[in-house]
Each structure stands twice: as C-alpha cells, then as structure tokens.
Symmetry: C2
Subunit: 193 residues, 2 copies
C-alpha cells in the first residue's frame, strides 16, 4: 500500500516521473514512448529515473496504479453526490463528453492502452485491465440498484462497450460532433432503462 501524501523529495520526484510518463504513454502509446522521451519531458537524468524504477515496464505499472487512484476518486465523488443510480451513470457519460477534446485527439486512455498492450504485452495488459474492472464493477452496482439483478454485470459490460465504441469511432474520425451525438444516444439509453 502506498501513501497518497508525499513526504520527501524522492516521492515528489517519483510522482513527477509517473505523471510525465502517463501523459506521454497516453499521447504516443507505451511502445511509442522511449525512455529518452521520458528523460527529456521530465527534465531529469537517465540514471535518476532508473533510481526510482528498474525498468520502463515498472513505470507503466506505476502509471496504471496512479490512474486507478484518480478514477477511484472520481467514482467516489459521483457516489457521494448522487443517490440515484441513473444519475450516477449519466455522470459517467458526462465525463466522456467533458473530455471530448482529448478523447477525439488521443482516444480513450483506458481502451487504447489495453488495446496496445493486448497485442504483445499480455503481462502488462493484465494490469491495465484493472482499469476496466473498476468501471465494470461500479456500473454493475448501479444496475443492481436499478433492480437489474443477475443481468447487471452484463449490462455494465454493454455500457462499457458502447462507451468504448464511441471513443474509438470518434477518435478514428477525430470528430467531436460525432462524440457528442453518440453520448447523447447513450444518455437516452440510460434514461429509458
């Protein structure tokens, strides 16, 4: 277990590397980002980064952990703000619309990472799939609260898949209007559940 608070310069440096690498991995892909890219973007020295992470793979695992933490916070916030499961799921869709600029330019940070890693780095993809699990489980709880019982997980995966489809097609065509239209379709689907 890692503390959220940063106590010394080392942890701050480490967190900086993770944030920097996370952005590069998202914008250029994991294999598309070289160690030297991380060196340049972070403003640190090679040896310095290797002091905190033994391998590039380890950096990615730390990035995934950091993302998990961010998304956990997001879900907790939505849970705290709304009792109604439908409104919570709408918040999920609104998050997609709210990030449309980056989604159109770089794709879904979770989906594109998993898709890349699934090709040749199944070990890392297993770690990255935890990001999907997080939303799948949260959505499953939402559907359960709507009385969907045993089909709740199936519905959660359906909605997750729909969201991925929206992200992929909007990204391929770099079309923010298409993303807006498709998320509207998703909101309508949730409303009429």
């Amino acid at each position: 277990m890692q503390t959220a608070k940063i106590h010394n310069k080392g942890e701050k440096t480490r967190a900086g590397i993770v944030e920097c690498a996370g952005r590069l991995f998202y914008e250029h892909g994991y294999e598309g980002t070289s160690f030297s890219d991380i060196v340049e973007a972070s403003g640190l020295f090679r040896g310095n980064i290797y002091h905190y992470f033994k391998t590039k793979d380890e950096i990615l695992r730390a990035v995934i952990e950091a993302h998990l933490e961010v998304y956990r916070g997001m879900l907790a916030k939505w849970d705290a703000e709304n009792d109604d499961a439908k409104i919570r799921m709408i918040a999920f869709v609104d998050m997609i619309t709210g990030r449309k600029a980056e989604l159109v330019e770089f794709g879904c940070p979770i989906g594109s990472l998993n898709t890349e890693l699934a090709k040749d780095r199944r070990d890392l993809q297993q770690a990255a799939s935890a990001l999907f699990d997080l939303f799948r489980d949260w959505l499953t709880d939402c559907f359960k609260q709507l009385g969907k019982g045993a089909e709740s997980e199936s519905l959660a995966l359906h909605l997750l898949g729909r969201a991925q489809g929206v992200a992929v097609i909007s990204h391929v065509y770099r079309d923010a209007k298409l993303l807006r239209h498709e998320t509207k379709t998703l909101r309508d689907w949730i409303s009429q559940l």
Copy 2:
C-alpha cells in the same frame, strides 16, 4: 489500379510478403512486428523483401490495400446474396460472430490497427481509415434503403461504433461468450429498426 491475377513469380513473392506481414501486423501490431519478424516468417531474405518494398511503411500500405480488396469482395457478396438491407446488415454482424475466435484473441483488425497508428503514425492511420470508410459507406447505403434518409450516415457510424465496442470489450476480457451476447444485442437492434 492493380491486377488481381498474379502473372509471374515476382508478384507471387510480393503477395506472399503482404499476406505474411498482414498476419503479423494483426497479431502483434505494426510497431510490434520488426522487419526481421517478416523476414523469418516469410522464409525470404532481407534484401529480397527490400527489392519489393522500399520501407516497412510501404509494406503496411500494401497490407491495407489487400485488406480493402478482401472486404470489398465480402460486401459485394452480401449485396449479391440479399436484396433486403436489414438482412445485409445482419450478415455484417454475423461476420463478427463468425470470426469471434480471432476477434477475442487479437481484436478487430481494422479497429486495433487504426487505434495503434492514430497514436504516433497519423500518416499511416489516414490510409488505414479507408477500411472504416468502406464499411461506413456500405452501411450508409443500407440505412438509406431502409428509408432513413439524412440520418443514414449517422446511423452507420453508430452501428460501426457499436461493433467496435463489442470487439474492444470482448478482446480486453478475451471473452467469446460476451461477444456472442453483444452481437445478439446488435442483431436485435437491427431487427427492430
């Protein structure tokens, strides 16, 4: 324009390279496939492959062209076999179900290629998006025949996105049952149009 018929040994060798590289690109990604991988898998020599293609990028462009040709044939077959647009679109969904084994293991050949190239090789992604265009235009025609008029293209992109979502989520979880369930949902959606 390229002739479909192979007339001499050179064209046969070239076609072999394209087929071989296409399979490797699909299974391991474009960047995940090295030139040496193509050399080994094809059983040819480095210089021999460079005789037919000046760069690895050129091989990918030839692979995209070859895929376009295959899919054009598929669409023509569906058009020839069925007058009803709904049945033709069901054939599209059935194709997904029929290829579920490879989709679950390697993802959608069109979607995963575009997603990878969109990150750092926008020049190549532009070429790869023609594969999406092909299905988008064909589906648009189907919706027009169903009397959907001006919203036909929007519906085509919706269905294309849904199909991508099914592929991504089934691939991430390597779950053929999930793919079957989601394609059933797609068939139902088409039926009730």
